[in-house]
């Protein structure tokens, strides 16, 4: 028995929509199995993990809060991946962006003019973009693997943040905890009551970004350029598109978005700097990007789905004493299922008996 792939003459539109759904379905089944293996009721587990978070207003509010940075970062990553630039360092760009954006609030804590707010955001975006331009520049100039360089820089950025909050930026009034001073009110994102939920401006920013990216990708020449370079680099050169400029552009863009997302998380939930500011948003955003099929609207939905898994993890921990780490495992499984199901878009899968026609007894 052997699995044989038969190439479809065209990409299957049906499968492009179905494959993420099948992947999610498989993950639900996997979750049920995991719960059963832990000796818990699988159906209750699945309900608590996937459905309960969306049944309360508070749950929805948390959903949006967690989904926002994921969506913002994943949008930037999608442009990178579409053009065959593998930015794995979003977590590092998020960190450095947050550090850059925090320069004003930390070093000038009494400066609370209105201009602080936009400045903080701009500096965060710039910080993230510049940090992302390091692996991009190395790839363009030397041809080094952007995967490895961007990833190494993640570790560097976390160490750098650690040094800052334990060293030069440690708050003198913080009882020697590794934290900075609290941000003043100008550098903080406030919540607004919307339909019973408390949300801040970052959610709106994410929605606007989705719309902008959707238009960019499908309707502009730039979006066309991104897609062509990713699909056929030589055809891209033939069309007069520069793959090098695209690398710099997409890395800078995704770095800026990651920095922005990180800064907004700091501004809304933490309101100072500390050694850990992100529960791995930069990495989870990678899963969101793929689950969303690198499509802006898909990413919006995928961000919400992954956010559900974060909440679900916490829910089963409190209610069923199952470790919340199950969420990370299921997220990883989900990515695998997405990749596996994506095969169905390009190929039909057949089970055939017997050996392959190309197999040979060694001569």
């Amino acid at each position: 028995m052997r699995i044989e792939l038969v190439k479809r003459p065209e990409m299957s539109r049906k499968m492009m929509l179905l494959s993420p759904l099948i992947a999610v379905g498989l993950t639900v089944v996997a979750a049920a199995i995991v719960f059963a293996l832990q000796g818990k009721n699988p159906l209750t587990g699945v309900y608590l993990f996937f459905l309960d978070p969306v049944t309360s207003l508070w749950g929805l509010e948390q959903l949006v809060t967690k989904a926002t940075p994921l969506v913002l970062i994943a949008l930037g990553l999608s442009f990178c991946y579409l053009s065959n630039n593998w930015n794995i360092g979003a977590e590092g760009q998020l960190t450095m962006g947050a550090i850059a954006g925090s320069i004003l609030p930390v070093l000038a804590p009494d400066f609370d003019a209105f201009v602080v707010f936009p400045l903080v955001l701009i500096m965060a975006a710039a910080g993230g973009a510049l940090y992302a331009l390091i692996p991009a520049g190395l790839k363009v100039r030397f041809g080094t693997s952007e995967i490895l360089t961007s990833l190494m820089l993640v570790y560097c950025s976390t160490l750098f943040l650690d040094w800052l909050v334990r060293g030069p930026w440690r708050s003198p009034t913080g009882y020697n905890f590794p934290i900075t001073v609290d941000f003043n009110s100008a550098a903080v994102l406030n919540d607004y009551a919307i339909g019973g939920m408390y949300l801040n401006g970052s959610a709106l920013a994410a929605l606007i970004a989705v719309a902008v990216f959707a238009v960019l990708l499908r309707m502009t020449l730039k979006g066309f350029e991104i897609r062509v370079i990713g699909l056929s680099p030589r055809a891209g050169a033939f069309a007069g598109f520069s793959a090098r400029r695209m690398t710099l552009f997409t890395f800078a863009l995704s770095g800026a978005l990651a920095g922005l997302a990180g800064m907004m998380v700091v501004m809304s939930e933490i309101e100072k700097l500390q050694p850990v500011i992100s529960p791995g948003y930069g990495f989870t955003a990678i899963i969101v990007a793929f689950l969303g099929r690198l499509n802006p609207v898909g990413i919006l939905i995928a961000g919400l789905v992954i956010a559900v898994s974060y909440l679900g993890g916490e829910a089963i921990q409190t209610s069923m004493q199952v470790s919340s780490k199950v969420a990370t495992v299921l997220q990883g499984m989900l990515l695998f299922f997405v990749l596996a199901c994506d095969t169905l878009i390009l190929y039909r899968v057949r089970l055939v008996p017997g050996r392959s026609s190309g197999e040979a007894a060694r001569a």
Binding site: K325, G332, A340, Y347
Partner: protein
């Protein structure tokens, strides 16, 4: 003093060497497996759990090997049978491995582990200076060197190694001549997984006998860079692993050596060194094109 430094360099380099050698074989067959970090950390948690559950560090090591191998099978299935994108699948493997190991290891955090015993030959091990360095290492250190020799012999002196290199060079030609590209790659990936698992188990059973979440701390990624640095030659991977081992332990000996840089910056050194090395290697494009397996990362679907 120097002896102490060399001993720590050896133990720091060994997991890198094990993982890099395995990945080197996989890449020689044309498969780019970015999931080394995930496979290593699974080996680490399995090694720790196996050791303290059975009381035998050796069993832990073996369990680590099996864990790495099993994890690699998932990757192999998705990329070789289902022909999914190798880069994304490798990332998925890493994220999955980190998550799963965190889950499995949760109950083991804080527990004391068992250390793999070091060799002790009366007379030889007691020699000054060289005694402990050459004859006082634990099993896996010697295994790592034997592995380098064995892989070199296999790749360049046996028929199987020739076939593997051919598959990595031109899978279409290999297929046309009747070789099973998929089978060769499955075996290569599994070997890589087993080695990564061994490397990870070394961390939790020999290097520091405890379990901490994400204890590989990026070593899997460094191993990937080492394969490039080694130009896919095992002996060069050994050189690279030891250079990196030296850079890694610098942070621990800094105080004794009188280096006053903050510890976080010293901890950054291995990662920065990786970047520097990658730039240096890629900058020389002639040699990289020569040595890179031509089909690295290219999915293979037999066109009938």
């Amino acid at each position: 003093m120097l002896e102490a430094i060399i001993l720590t360099v050896i133990t720091a380099a060994t997991p890198l060497l094990l993982a890099a050698t395995g990945e080197l074989v996989a890449e020689r067959s044309g498969v780019l497996n970015l999931g080394v970090e995930g496979m290593m950390v699974m080996g680490a948690v399995a090694g720790f759990a196996g050791a303290i559950t059975t009381g035998s560090p050796l069993f832990g090591i073996l369990l680590g090997l099996v864990a790495g191998l099993a994890t690699s099978l998932v990757f192999a299935f998705v990329t070789l049978t289902l022909v999914a994108n190798q880069v994304a699948s490798g990332l998925a493997l890493t994220l999955f491995g980190l998550g799963l190991s965190g889950l499995i290891g949760e109950s083991y955090v804080g527990q004391p582990g068992l250390k793999l015993p070091s060799l002790s030959i009366p007379g030889l091990t007691d020699l000054p200076f060289v005694g402990r360095i050459l004859f006082g290492q634990d099993l896996l250190v010697y295994v790592s060197f034997a592995l380098v020799a064995a892989v070199t012999w296999f790749l360049f002196r046996t028929r199987g190694g020739l076939v593997l290199r051919a598959v990595g060079d031109n899978h279409a030609s290999a297929h046309a001549l009747g070789y099973s590209v998929v089978k060769v790659r499955y075996l290569a990936v599994m070997f890589g997984g087993a080695c990564a698992g061994l490397g990870g188990a070394y961390l939790s059973v020999a290097y520091t006998p405890l379990w901490v979440e994400n204890m590989t701390a990026g070593r899997g990624w460094v191993a990937l860079a080492l394969v490039v640095f080694a130009s896919w030659l095992p002996w060069r991977a050994a050189v690279g692993a030891y250079l990196f081992g030296a850079v890694t332990v610098l942070q621990f000996h800094a105080q004794a050596l009188g280096i006053g840089v903050p510890s976080q910056f010293l901890a950054m050194l291995p990662y920065l060194a990786t970047i520097v090395v990658l730039v240096a290697i890629s900058g020389n494009r002639r040699t990289t094109r020569f040595n890179t397996p031509a089909c690295l990362g290219v999915p293979f679907v037999p066109d009938r």
